[in-house]
Amino acid sequence: MRTAFSALTRARTALLDLQNPDGGWGPRRDSPSFTETTSLAVLALPESVEASERGRGWLRARQRPDGAWPVSEAVAGPSWMTSLAVLALTGSATDSARARRGAAWLLQLEGRGYPLLARAFLLLFPRRRVVALNPDLKGWPWVPGTFSWVEPTAYAMLALKRMRDALPPEPLRERLDQGRRMLLDRACPGGGWNYGNSEVLGDVLWPYPDTTAWALLALQGGGARPVEVQEALSALARMIERNRSGLARSLAILALGAYGVDVERYRERLAERLSQVEAFGDVRALALAATALDSTRHPFQLPVSDAA
């Protein structure tokens, strides 16, 4: 416990040291600020920290007129990182309108389905499917106009669940339900999630800890726990016995913790790994480590009312 606490202090200090003069955080030291890393750093720091407010300021200044956020100042189109910016701003009363506009943009965004010709072919030859997934279930894409994938779908579901009270109930319910079904449809045999498919050309794909953790966070609540969620929790616990990376351990702590699993021993292991995480210099991993090491708050855990 003591190790985890001192590691938390160290992780936060390292994160503060990596903040850019413009208030944002880039993927690495001295790299231009990204919406993703800035949002994760804001979420990792207590709101009272001045650096957190400067991070929110960076986000406020970069929101696009359509409500979405870009990848960075230099890459200005609407991006999947919008979900994380919404999550970073939901806690602040002064930013609620911005978060609502971001969530509204997410609500209208959906992954692209198969074209008519492809659908007709699969109807005629269902056994000729190349990937084992239901293409009619649409989640969220990385890039508007492309297919749905696990990670952006999980981010969008988390953000929309957080913003539940500010959004029209019926389209929200429909999108969240379809997103949930899409994630369950893409689960790997044996539990967990790959980046988006469970099988290609008859060969089974294996799950990743990070995508599995995000999918689990997105699937919080919703009544009875589906078997896919139960299997994923077991698979995630198994995966981090082999995968020692800071990112995998941090996300596993956040996901397992959100489901009530005792994660103290994982926190201790993450604390032991923190030097490598710092040395590797991946700001995203460091921000998630700082979040996971904090046993007093969990920005990705949904209250029961939001999770349903």
């Binding site: 993927p27 690495r28 790299s31 990848v71 198969y114 000729r128 990385w142 297919f147 794909l205 990743y208």
Partner: protein, 338 residues
């Protein structure tokens, strides 16, 4: 084409136009103009024997570089291996021993800087990926900097060719600013594109932070078409080194089976290197749509325009297994000429 092959091809085309984009190249007006034309009169490709990963690889790499007439002294070199994913039971990635040999060889030949750069196509956890693949250990041992191209500083580059409708792409400054870009792919079959070699390896320079994991926008735009547009946009000096010591056959690029070929393939012209590498897998490069089109303007696939140095490639040709729907790509015999 038999019914089974036809249905397999159509199924892939379905996935191509939906999940994965069109895999072929569209007919119509020429997709490239004189500004994109880069085909040399003749290209040198060296095939050198390398029985296993424990051999004197640095020496072999130096020899390959020399046979192709490359002089790296004073150049800022970016080595772009292929490590898209990790499978403890597979041979997905460029072997770390080959990467190590390339780092040592280019440094030994006087490169002013050598960095390793990749934007993994599936995994976002580089701390894990570098550790699991053994590449992280090589980087530490050699004191080599790694650049994650998925989150590198980018610049919008107008595509000089029109195989896709993308028009422009954000590409990483670390690659665009290099004096020499070295593609270090694995010798592999590919379940959508037929083969994945030096040219296809350039998908790894497209930043995932902008285009996602996998780089799905390229799939929607068409894999073959995207390969052509990206490679035509890279107006920097190129070199290519294919890890064909153990390649991958069947359901590549991730889930195929290992196949020992015992070679490294070198050359400055990625099209000629890929054509020779395809022939080493007993695949006719003229039947691989993107390679055939690349052979019209980016480089050479015609054996008459390729000067083979080092070993006789025919000695090392192996009949790599391909998916049913790619049987049409195979050369009629194991001969590598043609």
């Amino acid at each position: 084409m038999r019914r089974r092959e036809f249905l397999g091809t159509t199924a892939r085309a379905v996935a191509g136009t939906a999940l994965l984009g069109a895999t072929g190249c569209r007919p119509g007006k020429p997709k490239w103009g004189p500004s994109a034309y880069r085909r040399p009169a003749r290209s040198t490709v060296a095939v050198l024997a390398a029985e296993d990963y424990g051999g004197p690889l640095e020496e072999i790499v130096r020899r390959g570089i020399g046979l192709c007439g490359l002089e790296p002294r004073g150049l800022k070199v970016v080595l772009k291996p292929n490590f898209v994913e990790y499978d403890p039971h597979g041979v997905v990635n460029t072997h770390p021993a080959v990467l190590r040999a390339a780092i040592d060889a280019f440094r030994g030949l006087g490169a002013s800087e050598v960095v390793v750069a990749e934007g993994a196509g599936h995994r976002r956890d580089n701390e894990y990926l570098l550790d699991a693949t053994g590449i992280g250990g090589i980087l530490r041992e050699t004191g080599t900097r790694f650049v994650d191209l998925n989150v590198d500083v980018t610049r919008a580059v107008r595509l000089p060719t029109r195989f896709t409708d993308l028009g422009s792409l954000y590409l990483p400054e670390s690659v665009l600013g290099a004096d020499l870009l070295v593609s270090l792919p694995k010798l592999k079959t590919h379940h959508w594109a037929g083969v994945t070699l030096s040219l296809k390896n350039m998908f790894g320079i497209v930043p995932g932070s902008i285009y996602g994991w996998p780089k799905n926008i390229l799939h929607w735009a068409g894999i073959g078409d995207s390969i052509l547009d990206i490679n035509a946009a890279l107006r920097i000096t190129r070199f290519n080194l294919v890890d064909g010591i153990v390649g991958m056959e069947g359901n590549g690029p991730i889930q195929g089976d290992p196949r020992h070929s015992g070679v490294l393939v070198f050359g400055a012209d990625p099209v000629a290197v890929d054509a020779t590498s395809a022939r080493l897998m007993n695949i006719d490069p003229r039947q691989v749509s993107y390679l055939r089109q690349a052979g019209e303007f980016l480089g050479n696939i015609d054996p008459a325009r390729i000067r083979q140095a080092g070993e006789n490639p025919e000695r090392y040709a192996q009949d790599y297994a391909v998916l049913d729907s790619f049987r049409g790509l195979k050369l009629p015999t194991r001969a590598t000429s043609g």
